[in-house]
Amino acid sequence: MADAIETKNLTLTYGDTIIINELDLRIPKGEITVFIGGNGCGKSTLLRSIARLLKPRTGAVLLEGSAMAKMSTKDIAKRMAILPQSPLAPEGLTVMQLVKQGRYPYQTWLKQWTEEDEEKVNRALKATGIQDLKDRTVDSLSGGQRQRAWIAMTLAQDTDIILLDEPTTYLDMTHQIEILDLLFELNEKENRTIVMVLHDLNLACRYAHNIVAIKNQKIHAQGKPEHVINCNLVKNVFDMECEVTIDPLFGTPLCIPYGKGRCIIKRAEVGNG
């Protein structure tokens, strides 16, 4: 079975600055893949290039085995949706109008708006819990509500592959878990491939089948969280001292950073180099 997405010898640049260098990456079908890495390491850049928003300097991105550069962009939009990092809705756009745009790839001159479009939009509104907000304008929402409206648009696109750049920023803890649960369910029940950037390492470990750690224009490590996440990796990728233990609820890796802060227990000095 072809991978959902594969990059071959992919080099990405802004001007002459290389951000990602000769990257070969495979993103398996039907799994949740999470990109991790420090600020500015190129996660968004890589995700944008996978979503054909950024032309590679060299190399290619394959969608289920075929080169994306040769496919019609509208056909790609029926198979892959992207939620960019902090998108900005035009002033005055309502939530309903925003979510409806998710159906754009399915619209043609003859077929403007169908029952199916309506159903997918309602489903997306429901899944993200924003039915009650649908007549509000996007700019009048809180950061978290806004984020959910954008996720609803992405869901309305009804694609097998969903790419999301930091879908949980701005969300409170409840809604972070809710969104991740929603994506997890889409993956479990409908076998959708999810690729996202997350900054919360512990949630990444809990929800991802596959972690891709990016550092120095390359993949530093890739694999199941329980295989790749350890304090060495965190030290190398994030330049941070931490202890990795086991999540008592899920058994997945749990990363607890060192640093300053109020320590109210006695603990042995840890040898950190």
Binding site: L53, T73, I82, L88, L93, Y104, Q107, D139
Partner: protein, 334 residues
């Protein structure tokens, strides 16, 4: 948003169409030469060659149709520019597109004595295109690429540059000044119907394409990344919209000279009435643009009667306070 549902919007559209027709009639009837509805009807049915009848058919009618067509074109060009540049201040006059077309026409008419109407239209398109492309290139220089601020500065610079070129040229060549002065201030008066007819096909094409791409403009307004992610060919759309802008503003300038403020004011009024959906904003803007220019042109006849004020001055008087209002709300107005 004044009109909430589609029913109200359809009604609004119908009212705007009726208003446009009424203003066209008013423009035919009111002015220095005393005429009445009856006379106008007679003039079209059995013209007796009287002064009044001649004024109506050869002066007032072209003038009314020109005002409607030019106002409509400038307003629609303004809508497209504002969405394309994500900038509420964008419009054919602020970004120098009108000035570019104006300069090209002045040079062509005075220096090369070009009189052929088709040729003048194409020269205006070329001038508009040169200014638009210039603004785009200057606005894109630098690391972050195209930003609204840089684009506005580039536009202001372009407008100033072409305006001073034109002035400089006219200072040197005084005979030319006489010839084009009234046209340069923006005027729909004293134009023959042939001028409109020679440009009309391009304007109609522009209006048509603008309407056809309206739902794509909605997608584009969500930002380039989102639009591309939704499968919109943003490059093609921007080129298409750019061509429409050049046809509409170049065409408008070829007919009536560079008339300001309609392109910036009307799109905002239209959005306040029908919301931000381009499928409504574009037709409503077109109608309102026509209405505003007709109104300005009728008022221009009465301000210093029996003299006339160039209609560009009238639109400026109406538009300036509004422009300041928009500017004060700033770029990231919520």
């Amino acid at each position: 948003m004044l009109l909430k549902n589609n029913g109200q919007k359809v009604l609004g559209l119908i009212i705007a169409i009726i208003l446009l027709l009424l203003f066209i009639c008013a423009s035919i009837i009111y002015g220095y030469t005393d005429t009445t509805w009856k006379m106008a009807l007679n003039a079209f049915q059995h013209n007796n060659g009287s002064n009044e009848h001649l004024v109506i058919t050869t002066v007032r009618l072209p003038r009314a149709l020109i005002a409607a067509a030019v106002g409509c074109s400038l307003a629609i060009a303004g809508v497209l520019m504002q969405t394309l540049t994500k900038n509420p201040l964008a419009s054919p006059d602020i970004f120098g597109v009108n000035a570019g077309a104006g300069f090209a026409v002045v040079i062509a008419v005075t220096l090369f004595s070009i009189g052929d109407l088709q040729a003048i239209a194409w020269i205006a398109f070329a001038g508009a295109a040169a200014a638009a492309i210039g603004v785009y290139i200057i606005g894109s220089v630098g690391r972050e690429g195209l930003t609204p601020i840089k684009l506005t500065l580039a536009g202001a610079a372009m407008a100033a540059m072409f305006a001073s070129f034109t002035q400089g040229f006219l200072v040197i060549d005084e005979a030319a000044l006489e010839q084009v002065l009234f046209w340069l201030a923006g005027s729909v008066q004293g134009r023959k119907l042939e001028i409109l007819l020679s440009v009309l096909p391009y304007l109609i094409a522009g209006w048509g394409i603008a309407f056809l791409i309206s739902s794509k403009m909605n997608v584009l307004s969500m930002g380039d990344d989102v639009a591309k992610g939704l499968g919109l060919n943003t490059v093609m759309l921007k080129i298409g919209a750019g061509i429409v802008i050049i046809l509409l503003s170049g065409g408008a300038v070829a007919i009536a000279g560079p008339i300001g403020f309609i392109g910036i004011v009307i799109p905002h009024v239209a959005r306040a009435i029908v919301g931000i959906d381009h499928r409504w904003v574009i037709p409503i803007s077109g109608l309102l643009g026509g209405i505003l220019l007709l109104l300005a042109d009728i008022l221009a006849r009465y301000v210093i009667m029996p003299q006339e004020v160039p209609v560009g001055v009238m639109t400026a008087i109406i538009g300036t306070p509004f422009f300041i209002y928009i500017a004060r709300r700033g770029f990231n107005a919520k």
